[in-house]
Symmetry: C2
Subunit: 206 residues, 2 copies
DNA sequence: TCATATTAATTGATCAGTCAGTTAAATTAT
DNA sequence: ATAATTTAACTGACTGATCAATTAATATGA
C-alpha cells in the first residue's frame, strides 16, 4: 500500500493516528503503550508514526492539544445568572459532570494522570479547567449573596472550593476506584446528593 | 562484598529493598521504575532483588503488603462517640486526612494509582479503607440523629458520602494536581473549610 | 567447611526511533 | 488523452539502547 487518495470526509492520517493513540493511551497508559499498539489500532505500520510526529512525546502533545476539553468548559458560562441557587447550581454542576465524565474527556484525563503522577511537567490539564469552574461558582455565589438569596456569613470562595471538591471526589471514586457505592448513582442523582447536603448550609435560615 | 552481619536494629535486606522500591515506585511509577533504580536506591546490585523476590511484580506486592495503611485505619474507631458533631467530625476527618496524606501512605497510593488507572486488578487499595471511613461517619451520624443532635431529614449515608468525597477531592487536588489554591491550607484549615460549609446543613435549625 | 548472601556478567526480549526502498497519486509534457 | 516524471505517503526490516530475569562465580560468617 502507498499513498492514499485525498478522499473528502475521511479523516486524515494525522488525526487517525491521534485518535488511535488516544484510545491506546487511555487503555494502557502512555508509558506502556507501544508504537506497535498504536499502529495496529490505527491500521498502519509503526514507521508511519514518525512521518507525522517527531517522537512519541510529540504524539502525546498532539493528542492533548486536539482533544483538550478546554473549549467545552468555555461553554460553561451559564445562561441564567439570576436563577435561584438550587436551579443554577444543579444545572451548572450537572453540566460540568457531564463534560468531565464524557468518554472523550476522561480518556484524556486517564492518560495525563499517569504522567502527572510521576514528575511529568505536562501542562496540568485538569488544572486548567478546575479554576474555570471554581470561578463561575464563586462569582455566582457572591452575586446571590448581594441579593440576599444566600447567607452572607459564608465565604463564597470556600463554598465553591468545597462544592467542586465534593464533585471531584465523587468522580475520582467512580472513575479511578470504581467504587460501587457511588457508581450506582446517575449524574442527576450525584448532583442532588451533593446539593441536598451542602445547599441547606448556604441558604438563608428560614 | 557478601553476606552482611545480622546486626540488630539494622533493617534486613528484604525490608531494605522494599523500602527502596516504595520510594522509587512513588517517584517514577511501577512501570518506569527499573531494577537498577531500585538497586541503586537500596545500595545493592540488581541481581540481588531476585534472591529475595520472584520478580518485579512480587516486589510490588510485598511493598503493598508491608506498607498497607489498613492497620492505621483500624485505629480510626474514635474514642468519643458521644462528642457533639462539630468536635467529632473535626477530630475524625483530621485523623483520616493525616493518615492519607502521610508520606508513607500517599507514596503507596501514587504507586498503586498508576496501576489502577490501566486495567491492573491490583486489590484496589484505597477501595479498602474508604468504606471504613464511610462506615464510621455513617454510624456516628445515625447515632446523633436519634439523639436529636443532627437533622432527621437528611440521609446519614448520603451525608457521609458527600463529606468523604469532599475530603477526597481536596486530597486529589493537592496531591495529584498540586492545586495551589488548596495547597495553601493546613490540614486543620481543610477540615474547617469542609465543616463550615457542610455542617450547618446537618445541624438542627436554630 | 559449607550454607548463605551477593556480585558481575550475560541473555533474550522489547522498544523507540531510523532509513532505504516501494507504491500510488499528482503533475507535467506530449 | 496518455505517457513520463515527480513527489508524498507508506512499509518493514533494522539499530542501539534498555530492561527484566538468569546464572556462574565468589565472598563471608557460622
Amino acid at each position: 500500500m502507498a499513498r492514499r487518495p485525498k478522499t473528502e470526509g475521511t479523516e486524515d492520517r494525522r488525526e487517525q493516528i491521534i485518535n488511535a493513540a488516544l484510545r491506546v493511551f487511555a487503555r494502557k497508559g502512555f508509558a506502556r503503550a507501544t508504537n506497535k499498539d498504536i499502529a495496529r489500532e490505527a491500521g498502519i505500520t509503526p514507521g508511519l508514526i514518525y512521518y507525522y510526529f517527531a517522537d512519541k512525546e510529540a504524539l502525546l502533545q498532539a493528542v492533548i492539544e486536539i482533544h483538550s476539553p478546554l473549549h467545552l468548559f468555555e461553554q460553561l458560562e451559564p445562561a441564567q445568572w439570576d436563577a435561584p441557587p438550587p436551579e443554577f447550581l444543579r444545572a451548572t454542576l450537572l453540566q460540568a459532570l457531564d463534560i468531565i465524565e464524557s468518554e472523550q474527556v476522561f480518556s484524556l484525563i486517564r492518560t495525563v494522570l499517569s504522567e502527572l503522577l510521576h514528575g511529568a511537567e505536562t501542562p496540568l490539564l485538569p488544572g486548567l479547567f478546575l479554576p474555570r469552574v471554581i470561578d463561575v461558582l464563586q462569582r455566582y455565589l457572591r452575586l446571590q449573596q448581594t441579593k440576599g438569596a444566600l447567607r452572607a456569613e459564608i465565604s463564597a470562595e470556600e463554598a465553591a472550593q468545597v462544592l467542586l471538591s465534593a464533585m471531584m471526589g465523587l468522580v475520582m471514586r467512580r472513575q479511578l476506584l470504581r467504587d460501587a457505592s457511588v457508581l450506582r448513582y446517575s449524574h442527576e442523582e450525584l448532583v442532588s446528593l451533593v446539593l441536598k447536603t451542602i445547599l441547606p448550609g448556604l441558604l438563608p435560615t428560614g
